[in-house]
């Protein structure tokens, strides 16, 4: 047993962080300037999208644990969401896709040729994947998806849809007949959040990923996405903590750095504890997903709920510690505040995940009681 990362895993995180730092506009004050298409290409050139693809399909064959720190770096660097979305989709195709889907899609994912957006939420339906109304039929997919990150720059859409009475994931090309895309007005324009209307949208050949209604495809997607979002949230939280601490060391008021005042020092300490705790939750969840451990869903929900709250709180506190400067547009802390809000509400907010944790816990406790009685 070892709860640490190895040198390759750490180095992967450092490399992604260094690459994103070469694009200062990503974290600059204006979210509208933060959608540079060159970032995707740079990440693809680095080989990021090949990491989760098995070697047989032209990839590196790594696990979610191997890329955990790289995902933190995507969060900390406010990378375009399509990068994380594509990695989540890759995990699903690797785990659940048919042999034909893997053969046709994975080599192109590995080279960065395919950008995949995740179309989940629907207006009026909350977070529950089982509640979707979008339906796949003989004429294609019909329904309306909201808050799809980077849908406008995607090549493929992975659409949560009703299929044969169950719920499944289907692949639709972004430029297919019957697909129309509208940008939302939203809190984080750098996330490229779109409404996607599917009006009998043409399916790709072999469009259904895994099996609808039964199987693990939708829970696996919810878990993998929750974990990746939790990892990105922790990357952001750690970066904001660093910003707050750096500012507290240099900003002088009443003749001393404000970090010498316990009111500020103690807030920073509480943030540091929250960041460590969130990382414990997130890293463990990355491991359960990599191993497909029985604790996967519970730990994914814990990570998503908890890390979402941590990132939100740390972003809030960091603005407060920066005082008037924190509230300015130019300093750009608002970019993290905005992105954190998007991550917090993607793939279930803390309320939805806490309910899921409770359901899992009660089921486990009942199973334990039953085993003890027997």
């Amino acid at each position: 047993m070892n709860f640490g990362f190895n040198e390759e895993q750490k180095s992967l995180g450092d490399t992604v962080a260094a690459l994103l730092a070469d694009f200062p506009a990503l974290t600059g004050p204006d979210p509208a300037q933060a959608r540079d298409p060159a970032v995707w290409q740079a990440l693809a050139d680095l080989g990021l999208f090949a990491l989760l693809v098995p070697e047989a399909h032209g990839g590196v064959g790594l696990t979610l644990v191997d890329v955990a720190l790289a995902i933190e770096a995507l969060g900390a660097g406010l990378a375009p969401p399509i990068a994380a979305s594509t990695m989540i989709a890759t995990d699903i195709i690797v785990r659940e896709g048919t042999a034909a889907q893997q053969a046709s899609l994975l080599p192109r994912i590995a080279t960065g040729e395919l950008r995949i957006a995740l179309a989940m939420l629907e207006n009026g339906q909350g977070y529950d994947p089982d509640a979707v109304q979008t339906v796949m039929g003989g004429n294609g997919v019909t329904g309306s998806k909201i808050l799809v990150p980077d849908a406008d720059i995607a090549d493929l859409l992975l659409v949560l849809s009703r299929v044969d009475g169950g719920v499944g994931l289907v692949l639709v090309a972004r430029d297919a007949r019957g697909v129309s895309i509208r940008h939302h007005a939203d809190i984080d324009p750098s996330s490229g959040l779109c409404e996607v209307t599917l009006d009998g949208a043409a399916l790709m050949d072999d469009a259904l990923v895994g099996h609808a209604g039964s199987g693990d495809v939708v829970p696996r997607l919810m878990d993998a996405a929750a974990i990746v979002y939790a990892g990105m949230a922790m990357g952001m939280a750690a970066r904001m903590l660093d910003a707050a601490v750096d500012y507290a060391k240099t900003r002088v008021q009443f003749g001393q750095p404000i970090g010498a005042f316990q009111s500020i020092k103690h807030r920073c300490a509480d943030m540091a504890v929250a960041v460590e705790a969130g990382r414990s939750a997130a890293y463990y969840a990355f491991w359960t997903a990599a191993e497909n451990d029985p604790d996967r869903s519970r730990s994914a929900s814990m990570a998503k709920a908890y890390c979402g709250e941590v990132a939100r709180d740390v972003c809030n506190e960091t603005v407060q510690i920066h005082g008037g400067m924190g509230f300015t547009w130019e300093l750009g802390l608002h970019r993290f505040l905005r992105r954190a809000k998007v991550l917090e509400h993607g793939f279930g907010n803390h309320v939805w995940h806490y309910e899921r944790i409770m359901a899992e816990t009660l089921a486990a406790q009942a199973a334990g009681d039953k085993a003890q009685a027997a």
Partner: protein
């Protein structure tokens, strides 16, 4: 990263499970519980600890030459998990094992190790901790208890406070002033004091829970052989910092996490069996949110401890991460008991032995006890100073 266990580690678990199946009293946790009376409970815990020792399950990761099992920190974590799984009793000599033993193991002389460590593991010697004084709480380095050297003995005079389990202890480790003229951190020494020595008296202090776990301890011309110093004279602060690192560290946190996860499971069972109007309390979405938050925080407590174990196994030094662990678990546990009182609602104020008390009054008692968590072994304010200054590098 790997949370799976090696065959050796799995073998350790299997052996422990087999032993536990015979060692716990029949009906343990179902119909058989710890005694209600404080003194009887203390003796029950001591007997359990001695049984563990007799079975070879004391000092899991201590060296074999001092009576330990010579296992790894991972096996120690497995031990904690298995104790949690069966709801095993706590021990009485926690201060002996976690603090006195760890400190002597790290800084003691060979003779001290040979003498004291096996007696700690067997719980022949129960230990208490003489750090705080009425005027030295968070400002621990300002302790005034004096130890004057006369030939081969120190003569100790002064008063310690909040000495938990002093009434059951054979030994006390104490931070005392050996040089009143030196700067306050530089005139301290770390002494091992036999509680049977003439001149020691204790007076129980009643806590907000109504219990008397801790005491005032008075030293009146108490003679302590000079051989009972740990480290050099006037080097006691450094030794005490080791003690505190263990007191706040992952071993301690994992042991506590066991108890919190047991209590949380009991809370969930209680809530699941409690009617509220036409439904059961467990169906209330607000109750479920509060419980799930605590389920998460108690799990994070475990993960924090295991993650820190791994850091040590991978060669990192013990540092301010102990403060991170302690600050986290103490507040998370307080949150849990506060949530329990919220959730139980109108009957929350009813205490044992009233038949209407929820869960036999245990949640209320634990709620009251939990107020100590953020105060002892360094208040939260002190932990935040340590994290802020030593981990984040903020100015003093």
């Amino acid at each position: 990263m790997d949370f799976s266990y090696s065959p050796q580690e799995e073998g350790f678990r299997t052996d422990l499970r087999a032993w536990l199946a015979d060692a716990l009293p029949p009906g343990w946790g179902e119909t058989v519980f710890e005694p209600e009376d404080e003194d009887e409970r203390a003796m029950f815990r001591l007997a359990w600890e001695k049984k563990l020792h007799a079975g070879g399950w004391s000092g899991i990761n201590w060296p074999v030459e001092y009576g330990g099992r010579g296992a790894t920190l991972v096996e120690r974590a497995i031990f904690a998990e298995e104790m949690a799984r069966v709801g095993a009793p706590e021990g009485l000599n926690i201060i002996g094992h976690n603090l006195a033993g760890s400190t002597i193991l790290r800084h003691g002389t060979e003779a001290q190790k040979q003498y004291f460590l096996p007696r700690i593991l067997s719980s022949e010697d129960v230990w208490c901790q003489g750090f705080s004084e009425p005027n030295a709480g968070s400002d621990l380095a300002s302790v005034r208890t004096r130890a004057e050297r006369r030939g081969d003995t120190f003569i100790v005079n002064g008063q310690k406070i909040w000495t938990s389990f002093a009434q059951y202890s054979q030994w006390c480790f104490a931070l005392v002033r050996t040089d009143p003229d030196a700067p306050k951190h530089k005139g301290l020494s770390f002494l091992l004091i036999d509680m049977k020595s003439p001149g020691i008296s204790i007076r129980p202090l009643r806590q907000i829970s109504g219990e008397c776990e801790f005491n005032e301890t008075f030293f009146d011309d108490v003679e302590v052989p000079v051989d009972n110093i740990v480290g050099d004279i006037n080097d006691g602060w450094r030794i005490a910092m080791t003690t505190l690192a263990y007191e706040r560290g992952p071993e301690d946190a994992l042991g506590r996490q066991i108890r919190f996860s047991q209590e949380l499971e009991k809370l969930i069972d209680t809530v699941a069996a409690t009617p509220r109007g036409d439904a059961m309390l467990i169906e209330d979405p607000i109750v479920r949110q509060k419980l799930a938050r605590s389920v998460t925080e108690v799990e994070v407590m475990r993960l924090n401890a295991v993650r820190t174990f791994s850091k040590y196994l991978n060669g990192d030094d013990r540092g301010p991460d102990a403060s991170v662990i302690k600050l986290y678990w103490s507040h998370a546990a307080q949150n849990m008991y506060e949530a329990a009182m919220d959730i139980l609602g109108p009957t929350a104020p009813i205490a044992a032995p009233d038949p209407l008390s929820a869960g036999g009054g245990r949640f209320q008692l634990s709620y009251l006890q939990s107020k100590a968590f953020t105060i002892y072994s360094g208040s939260s304010e002190i932990q935040r100073n340590i994290i802020g200054e030593r981990m984040l590098g903020l100015p003093r």
